[in-house]
Amino acid sequence: MSSTKPTIKVRTKDVIAIHWFNAFFWLTLVLTGFGIISGDFVRLAPAFWPTFLQNLLGGNANLVLLHGIGGMVWAGVIGVYALLNFKRVVLPFLKNVLVLTPKAAIADVSSMVITLAHLFGLLKHKSVPPQGRYNGAQRLLGTMIIACSLAIAVTGMYLFLSPMLLDFAGSAGVLGGVFRWALVIHLAAVLLVLLGLVAHIYFAVVEEPESLETMKSGEAEVAFIKHHNPLWYAELEREGKV
């Protein structure tokens, strides 16, 4: 970090590595996934993209294989990492980020609306309620990403493996029906996450580049935490870390 302001280590190298691993695989899988879906009624990307990518990789079969294997590597690595670091990383993260009650959801939505309004100079009289380690928008996004990632991993595996391993024709249409619904869920979950990622990337790059810096070095400025996350700062104070 180039700053000379006092900092505190808030992220370990493995957490940073898994974040960027996740980001890289998301980018790759979204690009390849949008390249697979070809039919005019169902594709999301402009027509040139599937054509370009399928030609580049020598056909859609190769693209499907790449996407499927990539997806399993993504789900596998994150799954194994989560299992191995459940107590140290996953549980504290889930405690901080999961929005499980309607009351918490309402509070987070309210805080997110105020944050977004402030971007456009609106609701200036309303201040964002004091935030913990994650703000309302981050908690809502985190909850959505966790739920959607699980859905994407499960449906993705079914989409990739079931045509190879299961007898669709012999199931009276049941397995094919599951495949079709898996496709809808897979797509909807990806779109939901992408929706949130637009905001996530904007805030990291434009509004709070300090957060991006933290996701590179693991260090966060104490003053930044005190200003943006007073509840977290108080927690760190109690723990004697600042």
């Binding site: 169902v42 495949f179 797509l187």
Partner: protein, 249 residues
């Protein structure tokens, strides 16, 4: 010029011998109870009050705007430049989204391969310069196949010489490339294509998930682009204000 393959069926020459079906099933080794082509027999009482039978040899119509290709999520259903609609079995998952999309009911899930089967105009044969198996075998010469873009081909000559009809309705007109000669008789409704009820999952993806997703992501991008622009303007304003106050001091 690229070829445009079409199939002509002269219903006045068809005798319902099923030789075309047998040839097709032998050529493609289709499972028992399944066939890529068929002959539909329509019985009715004509204007004179007499019973009459019309025979309609049928198969995939290799449409200009094939809905089966449009709904296929993996691109396994695709259309060649010469108009032949094919299925790439290497990537067909057998999800059957294309089955109800076809108004001619020409597609089915093959229980042996677990992929979608349909008539391909015997593409491997025609690529070798041969005729499709059904045409080769038709004892009454009711089926004629060829390149409609070649003015000297038999199909081109026949299309000019006779009054041919296509199986299209006001509801379903997707440019089939299969023509029927009925000697002026109207084609019965039972032979005409019908819009099938699509799978709910496919309809949901097409009409709700995709539009909402596109709109949502586009909207989010627009919102944050606006926020970014506003931030730039505010920064510029701050800099200007600081410069003004600096000059005043």
């Amino acid at each position: 010029m690229v070829a445009k393959y079409v199939m002509l069926a002269d219903t006045t020459r068809c005798i319902n011998c099923k030789a075309c079906e047998v040839a097709c099933r032998a050529e493609w080794d289709t499972p028992l109870g399944y066939s890529r082509d068929w002959v539909k027999e329509v019985e009715y009482v004509n204007a004179k009050g007499l019973p009459e039978v019309q025979l309609f040899p049928g198969r995939c119509q290799h449409c200009d705007d094939p809905p089966c290709v449009e709904v296929c999520p993996s691109g396994a259903s695709w259309k060649r430049d010469d108009g032949i609609v094919l299925v790439d079995h290497a990537i067909c998952s057998g999800c059957e989204l294309c089955v109800p999309a076809c108004p001619y009911e020409a597609r089915w899930l093959n229980p042996v391969t677990n992929t979608i089967s349909k008539c391909t105009f015997c593409q491997p044969r025609i690529d070798k310069g041969l005729q499709p198996a059904c045409v080769e075998t038709c004892v009454g010469r009711a089926l004629i196949f060829g390149d409609a873009n070649d003015p000297n081909s038999e199909v081109s000559q026949l299309l000019k010489a006779k009054e041919w009809q296509k199986l299209v309705t006001d509801e379903v007109n997707i440019g089939p490339n299969h023509y029927y000669y009925t000697a002026g008789k109207a084609i019965p409704d039972t032979v005409m294509p019908k819009l099938n009820e699509r799978h709910l999952s496919g309809t949901l993806m097409e009409n709700i998930v995709n539009p909402l997703g596109t709109l949502g992501i586009g909207g989010m991008m627009a919102v944050f682009l606006g926020a970014g622009i506003k931030k730039l303007i505010d920064r510029r304003q701050d800099v200007s204000n600081k410069e003004v106050s600096h000059e005043q001091h």
